[in-house]
Amino acid sequence: MSLTRLRSLAFVGLVLAIAVPVLQAQSTTGPVKKMKAAAVKVVMIESNEIKLPAEFQVSLYEDLIAQLEKKSGLKAYREGDRNAESAADLVVLYTTVTGFKEGSERLRQVTTVAGATSINVHCTFTDASGKTLLEQDIKGKVRFFGANLRATYDFAKRTAQLAHDNFSPTAGA
């Protein structure tokens, strides 16, 4: 057996070793089954154990509502909104801050690698009766560019994406 043939056999083996597990994973996972929801009510962010500055709390809440309206495809209601009571297929989003590190924009700009701001939030989606539908920890961070409050925007985008991936007004119809 020539050296060239051995090389080509080794190459084919390598390609198969990579391709088979990838294809297997694709065939087993499939699309995520979405739950039916037409509207989401956002409850003000709680931070009982972690001391979160008021501007971060408000920014988290406002960014969350803006991103949910923009990306999730659901109608977003604010805490206390009387119109939410009559909304069909309503899910309620509770968020609790579990970690917060306020970095420094100046340090980020001067060093590039230090001064990141990060925020960890535990998100719980429940139905109107309070039954938990989905729980996940989501992190928001700003590493290089932007003010500290940009971490809340990052978190809001991820949460809206989570809602988009798991809830749909037409699911199960």
């Binding site: 008021a54 501007e55 408000v58 920014s59 805490e79 206390g80 700009q109 003010a147």
Partner: protein
Amino acid sequence: MAGRIGRILLMGGAIVCAPLALRAQTTPAPPAATKVTQITGLSGVKNKTKGLLLVNGSNLNFTHEQLKVDVPVNSVEDVVTGNDSQRAIGGALGTLSMFAPYGGGRFLSLFRSKLDTLTIKYRDADGGLHGAIFTMPVGKAELLKKDLLAMGAHTSVPGEAHAAPTAKEQKQ
């Protein structure tokens, strides 16, 4: 004779000037608005909009050119002040300065100006909870907060919640 004329002139001057002085005392000076930047949260206003903020009677007014937003002070559930800082050279020029040679951008980003933040939480007509953040020059946020508390707003900061009588208490 000269003394008499002088006295008459003095009296005449006093009679002419008195109504003006009295009018100045009776008409209250219009409250001064504070230049602010609305970072986020005010309904109908884009993020990072500059404007004027004023506690005018029972409303918190934000004006930007023709745009005017009123928040009833009695719907404000929380007022919190804080401080922050921003780049001395901001905007597009600030971003471009990051590409300056020999670390010039990094050096420029060391220069920052301090500012105050005012964060409020309020309810809309449907009961929905809103939050708004404003930044303003140092020393202005506390004055606005005092005005808001005096007009009936609330704060979650302990010790300041009853610093000023609320509108309800004043009525009672």
